[in-house]
Symmetry: C2
Subunit: 708 residues, 2 copies
């Protein structure tokens, strides 16, 4: 089991030392002191450390950490870069539990800084003291009214609330804090900069059981330690805390930018996304999406079965909302008959009373009617979520519309999602914000958040809480590993067969005569013939493959043709003969199955349609191992291949069950052989239902002993 | 040539009558009078019509329109629904040029209202008077300070500016007006409600040559008249005015909502999008996108070759921006050497000076440095657009950052796009807005607008201004039309062949012996055999097709097999024999080409990869006819098929030239036969380069005489 330290004394310390306290307003030490003493409500012990001062602002000052009496939960280190290591050594000697290091000029600044960070990591290992930072803005525990930060904006951006935020760089963290202007507070913000020790995963783990946090938001440039991240997210899932994540450094340009910013590893975007999906981490692509999604999850608990009502007084806006809902695959609720009857009474004849509801402007001249009709819609038992787009500010009139929305939200227990579409906030926008009806800024943004909300509910219902991913396992010393390097096709197929995957029958021939004999012995209408050589990876490219050989005589000729072609093209390679292999008859669908190893998340399975589909359309799904049958089916269902396999347009249904079983067996094979670096079965022929699957080609690479 | 009236006297009238003028504040007539006389700067003649008053607010009042002396450019009709037709008759008799009808309760209210609208259309036809409305909020000519509207918000939302806005429903039009809070003004807003006569297309046509309008924005629920829309957009393109369009009623839900709102036809979303793309109409999917895109096009003229610089003081934010740029396929500029040298001087060592630039927070403490570095980047000759995301409000500090952006924008002639990402506007957001540096609200939104801006430049460079679409042509009475109904495959192929499209050689056999003889005569390795019957559309489904027949004996047997299968399955249908057709040998790529007729936009060509690609991945592109070779190539290039045809992954390059020529010929065929309702060639076999294309199957339907 992965170890996570108890961070409660970091988040809620009972004793703090500020090393580098200063009376200079505007200095790091001065601003931190102000945040701690003026803008916080901290009741614990406070020690100031500054060798040049006896007291600062009336508080006693000691020359060093070692001079402090009593235990220290947190030492805040706000000294120059060249003094940091000495202070940390002193803190470790003093048995300080946590050191928060603001100072920059370390890993982000070059080689010398990286060495200093390595020393910090050593201090952590040797002493058990945990380090938060360096190069970080500190820790804002807004719900506890404690600002261990030098930010001059601390006092301005501190609305308590249900969002817990874990970031690396600080910039966009503050963007999330400032969503308070939309009525959603971030109660805890951890931003550990260069993450020499404590990292995003530690904060997610803490927030998973923090009572004041309902939703965890994170903004990541890279995941330093895949397994820790997995465990932290699974911990959050077990405690029903949604994690909403924005990963930056996805594109080539973004990776470059992220690397120049921090030293974090930027994993492949596709693999990160696949891992997020499996862990139920809700991936978003911009800060506004992070806010919209986290805010909605803080306001309700999704089931995955939500049906939506659209309520609006502008017909065009209602149509836009309906488009966004339809386009995202969400479902509009069918109103119950009493709802329709009541709306017919309440609204004029020319209103559209069926979902989406277009009340027409009548509710603008009669706000009470607007409240009543909205309440009628929101109270419908078939309605789980209400979307109310307000297209423009119309002074008092839209302020009253906003007030109606606030009133209705107070009376119902399902989220009412308002989209305030205008750039003019008027009084309506702040009315909604102040009441915590966090308005979205666009209909598209609101619907995207609804989609993610519903999807998360579906994930929570369906995911297998007991499943734990198979990470990069150590080699097992007591068993035979596969030989390193490229494994020859027939050997790879032998391994597949040993793990229960059907492969075509075949025999290696070492002469033309033998090839003819093998053909006869196989007794099949046609065979494929492929050169056998560990040195030749791309057999077709050197003329090493002939297909559709349908007589013994042809087989003999083919042998000679292949040997001659390969002999010229692949000089110096050892040729072990030619594989004579039965060719599959009857219909089948070509599926590609691949296993690759991600340094952070272990073996990843890729599955998708073969042929042009995989190359042109990238129609693949990815998942972590181990695969269960349910997980294998879920993976297949993510691809277009699923529709094809189900019996598309009059074609026969193919053996999806056998495909899922094969994926589980491949998963088992990888677990048994952690030394496998890469496996690709292309194609895996999926035959009609009941007839199973056959691995027609296999590429297998085993790592060298010294690669780990 | 399509006729468009001169609307200048509607937009800038010299004489106005307000029919239904009222002294009751808050009434439609009263508010309109206030807008015209208090909130407008209108210098022309103003006549008030109200049979019950001698004067209103000191202005003389006449009992009827006929009592007015002199010519009338515009009559504003603000009377009850049952009085509207009489007033319009009177206006027509008076030779009023334009009538603006506010009154609702017509087409949107039911059958009786629709009949009244038909009467209005008759008045237009008979008199030449043009009608704007009914059921509309009026016309806001903000640049001319003239509000012919009853809206109480007229006086609030009137910032002059370069955007011309044409809408149907009014709601989201006001959302666009309120983008003035971001610093972009809408100078003219036309919203003709039920569009009984004047419609969005007329306003686009007017704005195309209006000097005060730089960009045309429109928000459409349906396009009433395809040809008028085409002509208006082409007119705008000829005058270099970009048209940005949001089409609502795209999804099933949205169509339902739009139909309950207005009576406009909602065309197929895919066809609308294809038409927009061809006309250079920039399609957007939400109101914020409409604003971001229109505002950017009002601030610069794209070339399609823009390279972008990202400037930011937060590394994470820079990485997000870089991701968005990379993800959207835009290109980051490579800074010139002097730029890099100057940035190295200006910024600290730990800043990232290469594009994307991360200045680090140093510019926050030294705003002048922020200005200088931004100026350095913006002045780089390789930089065409600058993206400056500001992640949070930081009080004075970010206000100064905004001021620097304003300063730099004033000094350079390329658009500086600022994304103000925070929900707190601070003073920075209004600083940017007031200076006209229309801030986007998200990085994603800013980059999406950049993408559309650059794409529009590319369209402007490459589009063929001389091309005019082929609309639904009338039947030519003097020539032989094809017989109505389903055309038999061999006849369809005959027509293709007559238009220069190669088809396989074939002959109809009417007996088993004849089938054997035809096989021998064709002298090919194998043939396909297909039943010939106009009554059987899906020949395969009834056992009417056999493939791969490779001997005369097999051909004779196949004949009997087909006749017996079809005889049972398609009882009562006339069977004309069995087509014996050569089968293509050698490699080819299956392409699908279809022609369908859109009621608004005429014949539309669909082209895409055949096989599973078209069914699973909907990998098709659509275009209006006629096709030139350049347009055909452009269409092909929109599909994934293009990559495959170019010689994908070591496969041979296919005959794309021949495919493009075939598309042009099919286009000619459709022009010659306007009676064709539908044509589908599936597949059109595209052979290796130089070997041409062959139509392997063809489905052709001809409309009945009485369908038009």
């Amino acid at each position: 089991m992965m170890q996570f330290s108890d961070l409660s004394r970091l988040m809620l310390p009972q004793s703090i030392a500020l090393v580098g306290a200063s009376d200079r307003t505007g200095s790091i030490g001065g601003r931190t002191l102000e945040n701690l003493t003026v803008h916080s409500r901290y009741g614990g012990a406070m020690h100031l450390v500054n060798p040049g001062k006896k007291e600062i602002n009336g508080l006693a000052c000691v020359p060093s950490v070692s001079a402090i009496e009593g235990e220290l939960d947190v030492a805040i280190v706000a000294v120059k870069a060249d003094a940091v290591l000495d202070v940390l050594d002193e803190c470790a000697a003093k048995r300080v539990k946590f050191a928060i290091v603001f100072t920059s000029g370390f890993g982000e600044a070059g080689e010398q800084g990286k060495q200093a960070e390595a020393r910090m990591a050593e201090i952590v290992r040797a002493s058990g003291m945990r380090i938060y930072g360096p190069n970080c803005p500190g820790l804002n525990n807004i719900n506890a009214q404690l600002g261990m930060t030098f930010s001059p904006a601390y006092q301005l951006d501190r609305q308590p609330g249900p969002i817990g935020l874990a970031t690396q760089g600080g910039g966009m963290g503050r963007t999330v804090l400032q969503a308070m202007a939309r009525g959603i507070g971030t109660g805890l913000w951890c931003s550990a900069g260069n993450e020499v020790d404590l990292e995003v995963s530690d904060f997610i783990h803490y927030m998973a059981t923090a009572d004041d946090i309902k939703v965890i938001a994170t903004n990541l440039e890279g995941i330093r330690n895949g397994p820790r991240f997995l465990h932290a997210c699974q911990h959050a899932a077990r405690h029903g805390k949604p994690v909403v994540a924005m990963k930056i450094g996805k594109s080539e340009y973004g990776i470059k930018a992220a690397q120049s910013h921090t030293a974090a590893i930027s994993g492949t975007a596709e693999i990160n996304s696949a891992v997020f999906r499996e862990l139920g981490v809700i991936e978003v692509d911009d800060v506004d999406e992070l806010i919209d999604t986290a805010a909605l999850l803080a306001r309700g608990r999704p089931t995955g079965k939500e049906k939506i009502a659209v309520f609006c007084y502008s017909g065009g806006t209602a149509a836009l909302a309906a488009d966004k809902i339809g386009g995202s695959g969400l479902e509009l609720a069918r109103f119950a008959e009493p709802t329709l009857a009541r709306l017919r009474e309440q609204l004029p004849d020319f209103a559209a009373i069926d979902n989406p509801v277009d009340t027409t402007g009548v509710v603008l001249t009669n706000p009470e009617l607007g409240y009543e009709a909205l309440k009628t819609v929101a109270a419908d038992p078939n309605v789980d979520l209400v979307l109310y787009p307000i297209p423009f500010d119309y002074g008092d009139i839209t302020t009253k519309a906003a007030q109606s929305a606030v009133r209705v939200q107070a009376e119902i227990d399902k989220p009412l999602v308002v989209a305030w579409m205008s750039d003019k906030p008027g009084q309506g926008f702040p009315t909604l914000a102040e009441a915590g009806v966090v308005p979205a800024r666009t209909v598209g943004g609101a619907v995207q958040a609804l989609r993610r909300y519903v999807d998360h509910g579906a994930w929570q219902r369906s995911h297998d809480a007991a499943w734990t991913p198979q990470l990069l396992a150590p080699r097992l010393p007591d068993r035979q590993a596969l030989p390193a390097g490229n494994v020859r096709e027939h050997e790879a197929k032998g391994l597949l067969q040993a793990h229960g995957i059907t492969v075509p029958r075949s025999t290696i021939a070492t002469s033309a005569d033998e090839a003819a004999q093998v053909f006869e012995r196989l007794g099949v209408p046609s065979v494929a013939m492929k050169v056998v050589s560990a040195g030749i990876l791309h057999k077709s490219d050197v003329g090493g493959v002939l297909l559709g050989i349908s007589s013994a005589r042809q087989a003999a000729e083919a042998y000679d043709t292949i040997m001659s072609a390969v002999g010229q093209a692949a000089e110096g390679q050892t040729i072990d003969g030619v594989l004579v292999e039965e060719m599959l008859t009857g219909p089948f669908t070509e599926i590609v199955v691949g296993i690759q190893r991600d340094p952070a998340f272990g073996p990843i399975c890729t599955v998708g349609l073969g042929g042009i589909a995989i190359e042109l359309f990238k129609d693949v799904a990815r998942g972590m191992l181990p695969l269960t049958e349910a997980r294998a089916h879920a993976l297949i269902a993510q691809t277009h291949a699923a529709r094809l396999l189900q019996g598309f347009r009059g074609k026969p249904a193919m053996d999806v069950e056998a495909l899922a079983q094969a994926l589980v067996r491949i998963s088992g094979l990888i677990a048994a052989h952690p030394e496998i670096e890469q496996l690709e079965i292309n194609p895996l022929a999926v035959r009609p239902a009941g007839q199973g699957v056959v691995a027609l080609d296999a590429l297998l690479t085993v790592e060298q002993e010294d690669e780990r």
